[in-house]
Assembly symmetry: D2
């Protein structure tokens, strides 16, 4: 698990719980990949015309989770305001994507799994945000 | 100017002013590139040890502006909540980065230019956010 | 033009022509944004079912151009092998995307513009690659 | 393990072995995160002045691995030329980063772990590339 190992070896102080931070980075990375793959799987479905919004929300959620995973992987010169605002955006994106994928979860297995990852990521980001304030 | 051309040719309705949207995407792309280049220029300075926070804030700002430029380049299945939350995060990141780069603007020309791009991006994102509500 | 300004203020030596490098970064950024916007415009077309490959190639090309723009914006500890290999990949992606968008250029104005940006980016990357060897 | 689950549920044919593809995506994501974290950890070291090249190579490797993970997470309208060229670039970046981090592996635990992830990623990408030709 490189995320946990890397955070353990950070050579200076981190003002947040390292375990909780690692959990968030892991959830964000998982969610970003699931959303990238779900957008592509939707694109392959016969009914792609009905999945336009799902593709788009997936792409947005992937970009936002990826940026958030990077920001939370940096501890040097930490700025709580940036992390907090980005976590808020990430929670919004994950919730929207979970809702949208959830609408097709019974039809498309990839949407069911992706909705799960988005919910998990939303929860983990929310916990981290609460721990920060 | 491909940003303006592309937004003009979008084949469906956009609920926001296309000129204003294009302005925001352009400012975000400029800012992301300036921050990426400034982080690297700081890394090359003799006093890199005093520029750690500046490098870090530049990297964060670049990632957040890039994600925001992508989200604002998509109009299909538009979700105002995601755009709004991400613009808030972007404004926070740009302001922090402008402040941090501003501290070294007299010493380092790259920090002076980068601070300018961050201020410009912050303003453009704020205008778009106001137009959205 | 922050790309040119930033490269002018880089505080150490660059082993490549700064004008040519700036041209490449500008072309890459333009191309990445056009591809992101074209993927989304395709998604909005009634015939999205016939544009699946176009959306996908656009998304790949955007990701590769964006990574290349970032790598070429860094000059500290420059490694020619990485730049060369990535430029090769970028040229391949731009050519594929220009071909794919070119197939729908008469039907869709966004594909016509995007194909142009991909061709321009391919040429600029090729010139830089030749100048590097 | 969402990467494996997502690839299993892709609704169309994939011309590559799904297990091997999932291995590559996992290695790429791990490597990208390790490089992002290692760049930041280097930035926090007292001797940051001697780690400039390491920070830079880490940032390049993170960007290239991340773009490659995204491209390999898409199967719709697959273009072997793009994947092959990008895998070549990724192998080059991982090797350079493993070499550079390897130089500081005895001094810095984060460089030791990051070098390991880069080597693992290089190997996995090489295997996939061989399986593709």
């Amino acid at each position: 698990m490189p995320v946990r190992e890397m955070i353990k070896t950070y050579p200076a102080q981190i003002n947040l719980n390292r375990e909780r931070l690692a959990d968030a980075v892991l959830a964000l990375i998982d969610c970003a990949q699931a959303c990238t793959a779900c957008a592509d799987a939707c694109l392959s479905e016969e009914q792609v015309g009905e999945l336009r919004k799902c593709v788009r929300t997936n792409l947005d959620c992937a970009d936002i989770c990826q940026a958030t995973a990077r920001v939370l992987s940096r501890h040097t010169g930490y700025d709580a305001n940036i992390s907090r605002a980005l976590l808020e955006a990430c929670i919004t994106a994950c919730r929207s994507c979970a809702d949208e994928c959830g609408r097709h979860a019974e039809m498309h297995e990839h949407c069911r799994i992706c909705a799960e990852r988005c919910r998990a990521c939303e929860q983990t980001c929310r916990s981290l945000l609460e721990a920060m304030s």
